[in-house]
Symmetry: C2
Subunit: 338 residues, 2 copies
Amino acid sequence: MNKKRVTINDIAKELNVSKTLVSMVLNGKGNDNAINKKTQKRVLDKAKELNYKPNQVARGLRMGTTKTIGLIVADISNPFFARITRTIEHYAEKEGYNIIVCSSDENDDKENHLLRTLINRQVDGIIMSSTQQDTSKIEQIVSERMPLVLFDRKFENSNYSSVTVDNCEATRQAIDHFVANGHENIGFITLAPSHISPLIDRKRGFIEAMEAHKLKIESKNILELGFYDLKDKQYDQIKDFLEQNKDLTAVFTTNNSIVVGCMEAMNSLKRSIPKDLSIITFDDVELFKYTNPPLSSIAQPLEEIGEQTVSILLNQLKNGTKTPKHAILNTTLNIRQS
Amino acid sequence: MNKKRVTINDIAKELNVSKTLVSMVLNGKGNDNAINKKTQKRVLDKAKELNYKPNQVARGLRMGTTKTIGLIVADISNPFFARITRTIEHYAEKEGYNIIVCSSDENDDKENHLLRTLINRQVDGIIMSSTQQDTSKIEQIVSERMPLVLFDRKFENSNYSSVTVDNCEATRQAIDHFVANGHENIGFITLAPSHISPLIDRKRGFIEAMEAHKLKIESKNILELGFYDLKDKQYDQIKDFLEQNKDLTAVFTTNNSIVVGCMEAMNSLKRSIPKDLSIITFDDVELFKYTNPPLSSIAQPLEEIGEQTVSILLNQLKNGTKTPKHAILNTTLNIRQS
DNA sequence: CTGAAAGCGCTAACAA
DNA sequence: TTGTTAGCGCTTTCAG
């Protein structure tokens, strides 16, 4: 292995040409600049011989572009985000972009800090599922010329492009399904304060559907878990709720960690799903097919979300488009045995 | 928002000082260099006023360090890798490092390409769970002075540090448990060609345990699925295997995607777990607690793996240590109802 | 067809 | 206590 990195200069010197020429050839601009085929070959050969590796940092500084996209999610270990990250990575890579991933832990300050870090690192664009309530802080931090596209969570009439799912409609479908199967006492378990758009929309969907079916919405049938509470505490609340509301025959949960708590609680209460309680949850997980019982759930089109997000960002990057785009994708209701 | 990025130079000019001074102050070296407190304050204030953001790319070029770690895994959407990524991110962030994540898709060429990309991007170090058989290609690509630490998968007597789990011992424990519960006809389902170290070790563990118990190892009881085959094809093979080997009372699977295939196959064969077949699998997933039946599995200490990996890498970075470290961590056997 | 020179934004010797 | 200067490695006018 070579002691020092080999640079464009080393190649130039060994060949007695200028580094300009070397740079041109290495960037495939040899023909555009009418450089002698033979010279081109000499350069290419020498580069290979010396095992030359272009320094992207230097290139980035000079060109003002790093071919890097910053990605901020609540938690990369959440399967929902992990799978979307995979597709974002995939589509970004096709265009030569790499991804820096960051988890905000649902913490506003951390998210803002990450935003600043990413910007200092000169990422070309940012993709984020924001944990914040509004854009005021964000707007302060990220300047207008930094492309930013949101997914999963968006803001009311903001100028940032977004890719989301029709959360309201999806929830309505689930409630409709409950009703079609004779359920009237339907519970709803979510997180609060739910300033996060999908949570707001899911609750709205629940209420609209119940009203459409002329079903009474009792506040005791709605459980709002503390957003920042630990899993244990949330679990206790779920268990209490289920114990106190024995008349409920169905319950809708707004995410895949709540539903796990429900299953656990039902187990420990010696009650069975779906005999004693039917469940539909938001977000599908592969293993829901094999849980006891297989869980009915709403699946988001993860692949498509990733693809669209990248595509919108890249467009913004290339064309410098300013007008925000809002993609709203459809979900699938997977009815299984819960 | 400002039209142009504000640089250290802008601050210097506005204040009629040199950019050196500004740089020093901004880097907290004001006192070391005995710069007037008042001047320092003026610089800091002006920086805030102009909303100055240090350009990490320029800094990186100058300092020869990017505070970036490259991470290569087979697939970031695999919960095993996703969770480790989370902890790697966590510990790296504490030291000011960010992570570029890349999925190799179990493809050697792609992995090598990613390696080159990461090196060109001047990452300070690389963490990887390699898909390759040996280090020959890797050694060609990554120079000696690029810190590289492996996790999950390692190479025989290589010079790269690694963090793994005692796969052989873990498998032995599982087989012991089967035997203690009266099983004698024990099957083993894995992937082939299994040039990947954990797979090799798991198989060795199986064989050693069987021999220790004086149990016969019949080749028809071992199924090796095509490593690169699609899930569907693997599923068919599993189903055939289970159908043909009705005398098996227990089976060990070497990863969490195989075990899902097993459950599905057992379902479709109208056979039940664990009545007709007991299962223990490598790698634990949260939902295994709720599958039907709850699956017994071997859990790796994900948090610790991530922590150790980062810690070894950072050490190598700081001290320029050359001697490779090999951490081997312990697993936990979670006996549930399968 | 090829090269000289400038400069991206920052840091670090070395002067003053 | 502060400033000058020289680059990190690369691309890009502009001149030959």
